[in-house]
Symmetry: C2
């Protein structure tokens, strides 16, 4: 339709009610952490993959770039428009159908805008498990989870979002619909396009649906907290748990003393079953054998760890309620730290064997640079993933600390990560936040390959520009 404005064309595609004028819609234009305040030309809410195709083509015809958005819960500024007022936000919330659940194949096909929790619930309604689990699950969408290759608390057993996806439906930068939905566990017919789109943060194409792996619901879940003197003991304890529990080890979280102290300070009503210690581990087993066998195996593991001097103390949840309380302690750390004041966050990973050395070296380097610095160190030890956050010394205003020390602190932490063979983004992605850091830290050969791929699949740079690459 020659001469029509983009807005008119978009209204024709998705209906007037689903084209919002940008400029003052914080739900769409401000990120979760409120660090990026953008301004969209328009927000478009298509209702089907075919409408996404038409929107992408319309934007291409007008030379306008697109920012795909799911639950807008990302932590790296990848899902909000820039400040130019020229970008269209493509919101996928209306693509929220469960298209199919195939229990005998242990798969389900869902649209990108389904909330993660809705996906979990649809599986549970059939007695099955979709194991991806993370704090934002009530607000984030499966499309966003896949676009950022989300991690969470069950990775030690089930892998990241990538490992839980068998196939994708994607709208390409050319505005073509690729139906790569597949319920196949083996398919060696050409290049792995699925994994290229997963984790590309909307910079190569727009995920509109996915076929996901499901698992039988485990019958018996056992949870425990254990305290330890040394982080080295936690790594050894993890190895013991892996050899004794095998694949029924579904959670292995670690928290340093200051993390738990913050929870004590800001949530005094939460019962802490164990006295304060240098390190606390949250251990979870999910088993499919007889409950009494599973419970015995779990107790035996803790007894053996105690006998070997790895753990100092332990508390096993005697009920589902107590198990939830234990997880609640762990999950209260992010909020407790923000109640304490803004801090400098890092989502890093290093090989599990090198975590104790990494933490020792980095703690020391930071203490030298910022005497009295406080470290909120917690995370998914079973995956080598720590949220290693740096809080201002007691009494120092957080905003001044961030303004003056963020660059230096990041340099110290990321230098240490690289020296220990690690990653500057374990599960949150790159987005706008770490784009420059990535260009400096990633190998030039890898950056060249990535740029070649971006150029090949999005030659006009219209898919979420300024993110990742």
């Amino acid at each position: 339709m020659r001469g029509m404005t983009l807005e008119a064309t978009l209204r024709g595609i998705v209906g007037t009610a689903h084209v919002l004028k940008g400029g003052d819609l914080p739900a769409y234009e401000v990120d979760w952490r409120k660090r990026w305040h953008g301004r969209a030309r328009a927000i478009v809410r298509p209702g089907s993959a075919e409408e996404v195709v038409a929107v992408v083509r319309a934007c291409a015809a007008h030379g306008v770039s697109l920012v795909p958005q799911g639950g807008n819960t990302g932590l790296v500024g990848a899902s909000v428009p820039d400040v130019s007022g020229t970008q269209v936000v493509l919101h996928l919330g209306r693509l929220n159908r469960v298209r199919e659940l195939d229990a005998a194949n242990l798969t389900m096909t869902v649209e990108a805008g389904c909330l993660l929790q809705a996906v979990q619930e649809a599986a549970a309604a059939q007695g099955l498990l979709f194991p991806l689990s993370l704090a934002a699950e009530g607000s984030c969408t499966i499309g966003g989870n896949l676009a950022t290759n989300a991690g969470g608390t069950q990775v030690v057993r089930y892998g990241n979002a990538r490992e839980l996806c068998l196939g994708l439906e994607v709208v390409t930068a050319d505005g073509e619909l690729w139906n790569g939905l597949s319920g196949l566990r083996k398919d060696n017919t050409g290049y792995d396009l699925r994994d290229l789109f997963i984790g590309s943060e909307g910079t190569l194409g727009i995920i509109t649906a996915a076929t996901l792996k499901l698992y039988p619901q485990p019958g018996t879940v056992s949870t425990a907290l254990a305290t330890l003197d040394w982080l080295d003991a936690a790594v050894e304890f993890l190895g013991l748990a892996q050899s004794r529990l095998g694949a029924s080890l579904t959670g292995f979280e670690v928290m340093n003393r200051f993390s738990m102290d913050l929870v004590r300070r800001h949530f005094p009503q939460l019962q802490q079953p164990l006295p304060a210690a240098n390190w606390t581990v949250l251990l979870e087993q999910s088993a499919s054998d007889r409950p009494e066998d599973a419970a015995q195996r779990f107790e035996d593991l803790l007894a053996l760890a105690f006998e070997r001097g790895l753990i100092v103390d332990a508390a096993v949840a005697a009920s589902l309620e107590q198990s939830k309380t234990m997880w609640h302690l762990r999950e209260s750390i992010p909020l407790a730290q923000s109640l304490e004041g803004l801090n400098i966050k890092h989502d890093i990973s290093v090989p599990i064997s090198r975590i104790p050395a990494f933490v020792r070296a980095t703690d020391e380097a930071l203490e030298r640079a910022v005497p009295g610095v406080r470290l909120v160190d917690f995370g998914h030890l079973g995956d080598g993933n720590l949220h290693y956050n740096v809080q201002a010394p007691e009494g120092e205003p957080a905003d001044r600390f961030l303004a003056e020390r963020e660059a230096e602190v990041n340099r110290i932490v990321y230098d240490a990560v690289m020296a220990h063979g690690g990653s500057i983004s374990a599960e949150h992605g790159i987005g706008a936040l770490k784009r420059e850091e990535l260009a400096q830290r990633k190998s030039p050969v890898a950056m060249k390959l990535m740029r070649a791929i971006k150029q090949a699949l999005d030659p006009h740079g219209r898919m979420n520009p300024g993110r990742v690459i």
Copy 2:
């Protein structure tokens, strides 16, 4: 070195002893199935990744294309040169070091030319498991396994080669060395280059090393054979086994009557513990709990399957020896069928839930087209992967059958695969064998994306041309 021949340059890089003159070296120039007889300009055997870099650059400077080769055990003609006599075979057998084994991180870094069995043994020597397992493991290399995303018998629990790899070292088409070796289970720093190279059959770059995932060795392995009247019962039995055994279900193979009859006929000395039946399942559990608990769980599953009328009869291995015999029966099918005469092989997958319908429909269509046709139908039911092979009617010469009927049989089988949402290559890859079929069967959008990626990463088409794409 201007003016030097390519051969002289290659000898300077890898040493005279490691540049072989092509033309009559069947070990390098003829494929495993002896369907492709090529002729190389030269065979080069570099001793390090740096030498691979130099070889790739030298070939690029002379405009010569490269065919990477590992154990040369592939089944789709991807690892031998074409007949032109112009290609260089890059043989990776001398890159055979285990560079590192990190037990606490459950990873090992190995060079591409390591035999799969050597990788398994190096892990086992540390009490750990590298679970990739397939018939050619004594001859194939880990580089080839990754280049083709090999599958095998343990996929139901551990996934394909792709899922067992955390990082790669690759020489790009530009002759640059990408060190993407990583012992990280979470790393969201940009596009997933690793998975793009895995399964690309040497057409995008040359894998020189990999970091692999290891697992604790399971303590107790239980094996059983069970017979069934219907394939639908096998699918139901699989679901029951998944829900009862969880992740300790490590093998679920299925074999039709004719497969087992061929083993009876050609290997009469092999003891078959159960009478002939329409379908036979080989079931394996690998558990880390107490042996008596594991054995009880396994027996309970079989009792329940019997009670529900899913299985007709079952035999549980009472010793490691008996367990090996059961696997030996299964693994003798490929040889038994070739003793019976050449047949038309298919390595296909469909969603597990659709396997019975697929087999019924395809059996019927083939019987209509070729009355008396005999079907060797066996494979990895737990992954939806069947080796659905078509043997000439009793008494008809195999070579005539292949010459006259192969195209028609392939069309019938692949039409049925597509109609059931399946894949024409589950675990063997595309190579030269299925390249044309792929171009016809794969979605045009996917083919366009694949071509764009090939063009971006290998613009001069020098990496294993004529394969995959």
